[in-house]
Amino acid sequence: GSGATGHRASGVPLSDFLLQLEDYNPTIPDAVTAYYLNSSGFEAADGRLVRLISLAAQKFISDITNDALQHCKMRGSQQSSSKTKGKDKRYTLTMEDLTPVLAEYGISVKKPHYYI
């Protein structure tokens, strides 16, 4: 098939994208990502690969939380008309918002009966 190296990350060739990761700090520290990668047998000499994985994982979670925020806002606008007409809303991420979003991603989460 077509080579995977031909993929482009929004216009920038992948080789350039990888080069840009040279001096970039993802939110997840490299050491943490590398530890979990190593525990599943992945060992890369090139630290940029680890950063790419951190970035991809972050984006995945970030997309989910962004969707959850939309859910939260929609739910809020439906029932807020009565009392919670605050000037600046403080949003809280709850399982109530997270569960339907994760279901869209094909992940079924059940609220644990107890969580410590």
Binding site: T5, S10, F42, A57, L93
Partner: protein, 113 residues
């Protein structure tokens, strides 16, 4: 008594989980939440850990399929595609303005005289 801070929630597991929880909290904050339910944070941290391990496992599989011992970027891309994560928008995400970066712990110099 119930634990109150997010740090306390995962503290019992290990340091890496704790840092991962901090990172996930940062991502949640970036998207506009001010608070997070304990169970929701726990779910996302578990997902993050699971996702990283899975990407590692799949990339390793693809590199071994090609008789390589070390994964290259193409293996990672294939793993990501398999998991349904596209590279689209990754560049924009990388450049996002309000990103949280966890500073590494300061190196403590042992003052031995």
């Amino acid at each position: 008594a119930l634990p109150t801070s997010t740090a306390e929630v995962i503290a019992s597991v290990n340091t890496r989980r704790k840092i991962l929880a901090t990172a996930v909290s940062g991502i949640i904050q970036e998207s506009g939440f001010l608070n997070v339910e304990k169970a929701a944070l726990g779910t996302l941290v578990e997902m993050m850990q699971s996702l990283i391990s899975q990407i590692g496992r799949e990339s390793k599989g693809y590199s071994e399929l090609a008789y390589r011992t070390e994964p290259i970027i193409a293996d990672i891309i294939m793993a990501l595609v398999d998991l349904g994560i596209t590279m689209e928008g990754l560049q924009a995400y990388k450049m996002r303005p309000n990103r949280v970066v966890i500073t590494p712990p300061a190196h403590q110099v042992d003052l031995k005289q």
